[in-house]
Point group: C2
Chain length 338, copies 2
């Protein structure tokens, strides 16, 4: 973060007509945004949520409550504006960029970015989900998406995803990077019962045992246990940080991508905001590991970028108070120490 901008933003906060610190995290957000953007009074105009969609071979093991047909069906729902992310993006005046990075179906739509790396991952319970070349290609898709948005003047990006089976991949990645038992980081996803949850834990354990990823090699772990949409989001997060654009991370799957990105480049963490705390049990552990405090806690577990886009209002509130409030001198208000 740019320390000059951070210091000047802090100095500005201390002059605004409120008791010092009384806006709590809004003050911290404004200061962090100043450091990210290298602007003492940052503004956020262009916003986008990047929704990466892909399928997961591991759904063959019966780990999800929904059939994998739902992935392409929901992509079409995003494109026709009928999903939760569309409603919340309209509210937040955010663009929605939908990317087919690996859906296991043929999809065509004028507003769809078709960047299919392959038709879904392989079944990680039996083989590596992807090759190293495919992982790099998927990361590059995310980088390219951000490069294009940045050229149009992107100020703030939210990460979103869709992929039946992707909490299974996120659990495997999280167990591996945090070195914790699989059951600590495996939840009910879209809504499986106790028996199905026990089965999902076994499948994730099998995937880790069978693939034996090297936790010190983030790309090896990502290739063996990840997903195409997760790799794409790694690219989004890395490229946004490189461009000094803040990212709001959504829930468990997006946070697994953030975990990989921070393993590759630890300073990226300073460019991240955690949009919310998901119900998925592994999510809290990832946020603790990354020292990120969620902005919202509304028991969401939908993904798509919903919690991240809802959190855009908090970031905007922080920037509006930082920018628009009068100083003690301007307003003729007595300061505490005056």
């Amino acid at each position: 973060l740019d320390s000059g901008s951070v210091e000047q933003a802090r100095a500005r906060q201390s002059q605004l007509t409120k008791p010092p610190g009384s806006l709590g995290r809004l003050e911290e957000i404004a200061v962090q945004m100043a450091g990210i953007t290298r602007s003492v009074v940052p503004v956020v105009q262009r916003r986008a949520v990047v929704v990466m969609a892909a399928d997961h071979g591991v759904t063959a093991e019966g780990v999800s409550a929904y059939p994998k047909d739902v992935t392409p069906q929901m992509v079409l729902n995003f494109l026709s504006g009928g999903a939760a992310i569309n409603a919340l993006a309209r509210q937040a005046q955010s663009d929605v960029t939908v990317v087919d990075i690996g859906v296991a179906a043929d999809l065509e739509h004028p507003n769809l970015l078709s960047r299919k790396v392959r038709r879904g991952t392989a079944n990680m319970a039996r083989e590596a989900a992807m090759s190293q070349a495919e992982v790099l290609q998927a990361i590059n898709v995310g980088v390219e998406v951000i490069e294009n948005l940045a050229e149009q003047g992107l100020d703030l990006v939210a990460t979103g995803e869709m992929g039946i089976g992707n909490t299974t991949a996120a659990s495997a990645l999280t167990a591996c990077f945090l070195d914790v038992p699989v059951e600590y980081v495996t939840g009910r996803g879209t809504g499986i019962d106790d028996q199905q949850l026990a089965h999902k834990v076994r499948i994730v354990e099998q995937a880790i045992t069978h693939n034996a990823p090297d936790a010190a090699q983030p790309l090896d772990v990502l290739a063996k246990l990840g997903g195409l949409e997760i790799a794409g989001l790694v690219g989004v997060i890395l490229a946004a940080a490189a461009r000094h654009i803040p990212s709001i991370i959504d829930g468990f799957i997006s946070s697994a991508a953030a975990l990989v990105a921070c393993a590759l480049a630890p300073t990226v963490r300073d460019y991240l905001f955690a949009g919310h705390l998901s119900v998925e049990r592994g999510h809290r552990l990832i946020l603790e590991k990354l020292h990120l405090e969620p902005l919202l806690n509304l028991q969401l577990r939908l993904g798509e970028g919903t919690g991240a886009v809802l959190a855009m209002h908090i970031i905007e509130g922080a920037l509006r108070t930082h920018q628009e409030m009068a100083t003690f001198a301007e307003a003729g208000v007595s300061n505490k120490n005056a």
Copy 2:
């Protein structure tokens, strides 16, 4: 709450393109809003934050970090648009209604509602803060403000306040209604140190002992230990509920008003949303007593209605997803049980 609207709103939620329950509290909010407004798909157009301002005689005891001149100075700041509440209200497209219900200074401004009941309360450490007649008059001011806003089509109201010394009054009310030791519910307000905090606790204890309010008589407690702005907000909360208008309660002081309102009319609680959890230590206890879960937790402690207005975006997100999302049938998405 209207049970027909609640049931129909629940039925609608189960048809929207998402796993059941995956929007967490957003779903609950939409259903509660349906019950409050008696509309299956409620819309929130006109929003207002009512900021009640008044002074407190107990500031003579040195309980606050700021001089009481700050009350009228901040009222003028609200009226010229330079306070935190103005910035956040502009973001949320909310009107700001500023009411002088008892500032101890002469204030005039075309946009100020001048409804002064008296020039600040008496010093509750030595006598009752107000008479019963004054309490009723202050409650009536709040009722009248809501009646006028409702005639213009108010859909959602946030409670706000300004008054140097008013955390002291809120602590006294809270200790009394919750029957807990004063130190459990007395915090640092605008920023006092340990020694000043110990003094503040003693002053609140003295106020309770000296006035000996009858906890079974909410108006007696309010008169002896309350504030004019707190009484005004009691009127706001009661009148909004009577008109089927939801209220978003801000922090500690607003919640003390909600506590009084619910003591007078327990069903009012169903019409309330807790905007956020304040740093003021008594706040959590009030919310637990009222069984209200805060929508935000951002370590705010400013008051003015800031946390409540910021929470308007969460309510809007709940209503937008409820209204705008496609159903499984509309979008051609496979349902879990299909």
